[in-house]
């Protein structure tokens, strides 16, 4: 994996300790380790809930009546409904649990699609350069600077015409989020590709007669993707927020198709004024918890990759391996000397003061 940065220390470590998360867990200390472990625990719980939702949930997500008649609308928590029922007469607990499944599905589809599209475009654009590269950069910068929620709204109008049906609604949400994320992967991979293209080993491969395709996917790709786990975590949390935002604005998934937290919150909006708290509190807490968990993981990984932010004990051990793995390659968090590169209106993400200096 690390042809470019193969220090003796890196090669000595076992395959187990070089696995992305395990490596960071061992590297971290104190507070950072605590944050990473907390994040991993929450994320694992979320994934497990999503997978076992059919077993865990007492009712189906679109179930309106049980063995003893209809659930009734806006029932307070207790008895057969530990978290109460919604204004539409659904069981809140069941919808929160099933919502995890929808969220996970959307994250996986959105992140996978945007990784494939973004990485491919970034590789091609960065490797070949020229006018195609310039146009792609301008377009991706423009898209990147645009409010992602609005873009997602437009895309979801295109895909589902603003209506949502079974799988269509879920897919539409996932694809809307994908389009928003492609520029992020594109920018990172492109910047890495441009950097790696100039490395001696790429030159050597070309001298040996390797074709463009081989160089791109064998030499450049495998070295350009080191930062992906980081962006992936940051994007997953954003995917949930965008999905919930879409749902909240009425572009989500119909309650009969799947459970979606944003949609439930939208329906709970009118409950709040009459003091009904359980319909909004629980789906909202579910969103917060999942985003918190994933962000904690992402944040810890980001800090551990940046020698200036990493806990002190670990600095000596691994500095050689993770030399340039900030979210944005060459990214810098300091305001001090050399901190602010010439940036042209491109947007960074709501995560940090990471700046793009291609």
């Amino acid at each position: 994996m690390s042809d470019a940065t193969g220090s003796p220390a890196a090669q000595k470590r076992s395959a187990w300790s070089r696995l992305p998360i395990v490596h960071q867990l061992r590297q971290s200390i104190g507070l950072q380790r605590g944050m990473l472990i907390a994040g991993l625990t929450i994320t694992t719980l979320f994934v497990l809930t999503a997978i076992f939702a059919p077993v865990l949930a007492p009712y189906g997500f679109s179930q309106l009546r049980g063995a003893d008649g209809a659930f009734g609308a806006q029932q307070p928590p207790g008895g057969a409904h530990p978290l109460g029922t919604t204004v539409g007469g659904y069981d809140v607990l069941s919808r929160v649990l099933w919502g995890a499944q929808t969220a996970l599905f959307v994250i996986v589809v959105a992140v996978l699609l945007s990784i494939f599209a973004g990485v491919f475009l970034g590789l091609v654009s960065g490797y070949f350069g020229g006018w195609l590269d310039r146009i792609s950069v301008v377009v991706s910068d423009a898209v990147y600077a645009f409010p992602s929620l609005l873009l997602a709204i437009v895309i979801s109008i295109v895909i589902s015409g603003g209506k949502s049906n079974l799988i269509g609604g879920v897919l539409a949400a996932a694809i809307s989020i994908t389009v928003v994320f492609i520029p992020q992967y594109f920018r990172v991979i492109r910047a890495e590709t441009v950097r790696i293209k100039a490395e001696a080993y790429v030159e050597s491969a070309r001298v040996l007669g390797a074709g463009s395709g081989r160089i791109m996917f064998r030499h450049v790709f495998r070295n350009a993707t080191r930062t992906l786990p980081l962006i992936l975590t940051l994007n997953s949390s954003e995917a949930i927020l965008t999905l919930a935002g879409l749902g909240y604005l009425g572009f989500g998934i119909e309650p009969t198709a799947a459970a979606e937290w944003g949609y439930d919150l939208n329906k709970a909006l009118s409950d709040v004024t009459s003091g009904i708290w359980w319909t909004s509190l629980f789906p909202g807490l579910a969103i917060v918890l999942v985003v918190l968990g994933i962000t904690l993981v992402g944040e810890s990984l980001n800090d551990l990759a940046d020698p200036r932010l990493r806990g002190r004990r670990a600095v000596g051990q691994t500095a050689g391996v993770v030399a340039q793995t900030s979210v944005v390659p060459g990214g810098t968090l300091v305001a001090g000397p050399g901190g602010l590169g010439g940036r042209e209106g491109a947007a960074t993400h709501p995560t940090d003061g990471l700046e793009d200096r291609p």
Binding site: L31, G34, M35, V138, D141, V143, A145, F146, P147, L149, L150, I153, V154, I155, I157, V158, G161, G162, A244, G245, Y248, L249, G250, F251, N266, A268, L269, V272, T273, S274, G275, S280, L281, G284, I287, V288, V291, L292, L296, E299, R308, L309, L333, V334, A335, G336, P337, G338, G339, L340, G342, R343, E344, G345, A347, T348, P350, T351, D352, G353
Partner: protein, 362 residues
């Protein structure tokens, strides 16, 4: 500010020439940066146009269920949606260039007029939110940097992540539940109560910015009412950004605390507190300015959700109304305008950043 930058040991800063050279540099930078606005706006407007049109014409989308096929065809022809799409595209670009964003289908009003009326309210909300973000984010960020890796820092970092992790509509709902329903100290929604709104309507030259209008009425009751209504929405949207500012200030102050000139100050016996407050803090604020520009996009997205939650009659509120009415001409217009706003504000922020920090310039 200048004292700080000249003292910093950057090789570029020491090699800086006299005033005239840097002045022509900034002129060139502004020009290039200004020219870059146009492709950005062009790309975004075109993208929105083509995406929205792939779904079909907006008249069928809005009125499809309610009118017969003949009437529909008539309306489509009258609006010119039966012409080749490329002709419509060129025409649309021309219209946008002259500030004409079309006419809404559901209410038959010019989109530009709607944008003006409601845009002011959004602007007011965003200003309030930025105020909250500054007041909360910057001091707390410094506190976190000062007690780096201590419990206070851990707590503040989790707080910052929570700010980001909580969707604005959820925090808005919670605030409403606690402060408006249970404690009943703040109004549930809207920008002002009906009485105050009436009083402000009577003003001869009203601005639409309720805070200013309320001051102009000269009635402290109206002003108090307007401010009361603004508290919860401003907190909701402001905390989202406050979390980002907190993190940014923290990392930047930690970064500057490690620089040579801070070390030099420390060796002169300057206290750690004074180092954070006087030496490390000001250069750490420069990136904040850049980041505000980047936050405009996030703030506008958040404003849509906040306004929906609090029935704050701004662009986001009206956008969700139009979405519900399936009036895609209006949606397209609002989205296109927001694209223009984002591009322009990024431009302004970049210029400010360049004026403050000479290293940004080309």
């Amino acid at each position: 500010m200048t004292t700080v930058t000249t003292r910093s040991p950057s090789p570029r800063a020491t090699g800086r020439t006299k005033r005239p050279a840097s002045e022509s540099g900034i002129g060139r930078y502004i020009l290039i940066r200004f020219l870059l606005i146009f492709p950005t706006i062009f790309i975004l407007v075109s993208m929105v146009f083509w995406l929205m049109r792939t779904t079909g014409d907006p008249i069928t989308a809005a009125l499809g269920g309610r009118l017969g096929p003949e009437q529909l065809a008539e309306r489509i022809q009258a609006a010119g949606y039966d012409r080749p799409i490329f002709v419509q595209y060129v025409e649309y670009l021309g219209q946008v260039f002259t500030g004409n964003f079309g006419t809404t289908i559901s209410t038959n009003r010019p989109v530009a007029e709607i944008l003006l009326t409601y845009g002011v309210a959004t602007f007011e909300l965003v200003c309030y939110a930025l105020l909250v973000a500054f007041i909360v984010g910057i001091p707390l960020g410094m506190v976190a940097a000062y007690w780096r890796d201590k419990p206070a820092d851990a707590f503040l970092r989790v707080f910052a992540i929570l700010c980001y992790a909580t969707p604005v509509f959820f925090s808005g709902l919670l605030f409403k539940l606690v402060f408006a329903v249970y404690l009943d100290v703040l109004p549930v929604s809207g920008r002002a109560s009906t009485g105050s709104e009436l009083q402000m309507q009577l003003l001869p030259n009203k601005t639409g910015l309720y805070t200013i209008d309320a001051i102009m009425t000269g009635d402290p009751g109206v002003l108090a009412d307007v401010l009361e209504h603004a508290v919860l929405p401003a907190l909701t949207l402001g905390l989202l950004t406050a979390g980002i500012f907190l993190r940014l200030v923290r990392t930047n102050v930690i970064g500057t605390l490690g620089t040579d000139y801070v070390d030099a100050a420390r060796s002169r016996g300057v206290s750690e507190f004074r180092l954070v407050r006087k030496h490390a803090y000001r250069p750490a604020l420069i990136p904040i300015i850049t980041v505000i520009g980047l936050q405009i996009a996030l703030l506008l997205g958040g404003a849509v959700l906040t306004e929906t939650t609090f029935e704050w009659k701004g662009l986001g509120f009206i956008l969700s109304e139009f979405l519900r009415a399936r009036d895609f001409v209006a949606v397209q217009g609002i989205v296109a305008l927001l694209a223009v706003i984002v591009a322009l504000s990024n431009f302004v922020v970049d210029i400010i950043a360049a004026l403050i920090d000479p290293r940004v310039r080309y």
